[in-house]
Symmetry: C2
Subunit: 159 residues, 2 copies
DNA sequence: ACGATAGTTGCATTTCTTTTACAATTACTA
DNA sequence: TAGTAATTGTAAAAGAAATGCAACTATCGT
């Protein structure tokens, strides 16, 4: 179960749905009920998610829309900077919210498979370094540390 | 085309094939010609690679082994710490050498799709921090920065 | 050196994720 | 409110990765 330590304060930003609407408008696309349902559901999940989980949550709420619509909506949300692909695991992609969240690292335990988030001021420093020294304009970041968590080390799953 | 700035000096370590042999022995597995061919080919590639590229390189050299063997060998190489999954793109996984390489970040241009590598002492510091403060034992790392490279910015692909 | 045995290979098939063609539907603009 | 171009669901396709199986073989003990 992913744990989320590095949540940014969720105050002082536009609601995600407004960002999305504005993006849709700017691109000359359409704000459909299906897209609205998908976007609202995604931002009710306060954790990493994947297509199947999202689809099941919607079905359980009686919202019957197709997976195709989800697969079509995700790239829009990525493009407008609301979410990002965070890691590919168990044969499929996992996503996380980006907008309003500080850059952070994911630390994954290879034994119990839990994922924790950590912030570190040095992440921003590295971004700044790349920006200033190499002239990149950065828009996103994925940082994953792999290893064994204290609990699993204690249980001697790993010597 | 991925560019590789952050290559570590390749001296002063055991040949990868020896590491692999030792791992195979320790696990009671078998050192087959197919495995040897795959491993040697992987360490002749000095860049990121994927299954298809590896398969084609082998075919072009007249080595006719199956993709299944590649798919079965990669987890072994990951498990013994020689390579890692580095990013999932174009619908499939990409790999890179790990053994003998310093931890580094990948900076990906979303326009021209090039991938550059950068080292930064802060990456190690962050690792140490996670290790000391949170008690993890870390074995690997993926760090990807996404944005637009100076060239593409100059060409005004992005305002 | 040889034979037994358990691991490995290639092939074909399967599973699973993600994409897409198409016809019906619908959001948006004038 | 009508016109039009985007969107939807369905079903199928595309593609990556995993796997069952029979034939093969590396390895080990004798």
């Amino acid at each position: 179960m992913p744990k989320t330590n590095a949540k940014t304060k969720e105050t002082e930003h536009l609601p995600e749905i407004e960002i999305f609407k504005e993006y849709i408008r700017r691109k000359g696309l359409r704000f459909t009920p299906e897209r609205e349902i998908i976007v609202r559901e995604i931002f009710e999940i306060h954790d990493h998610f994947d297509v199947d989980e999202l689809y099941l949550r919607l079905r359980n709420k009686g919202k019957k829309l197709s997976k195709a619509s989800i697969y079509r909506t995700l790239p829009l949300l990525i493009d407008c900077g609301l979410i990002q692909e965070v890691y590919h695991e168990d044969g499929h992609m996992h996503y996380e919210h980006v907008y309003g969240h500080e850059p952070h690292a994911h630390v994954r335990c290879l034994e119990c498979r839990k994922v924790e988030e950590f912030t570190d001021h040095r992440i921003k420093e590295i971004e700044e370094h790349i920006t200033k020294e190499f002239g990149y304009r950065l828009t996103g970041l994925r940082f994953e540390l792999l290893g064994y968590c204290p609990d699993c080390l204690k249980k001697q799953y790993r010597p």
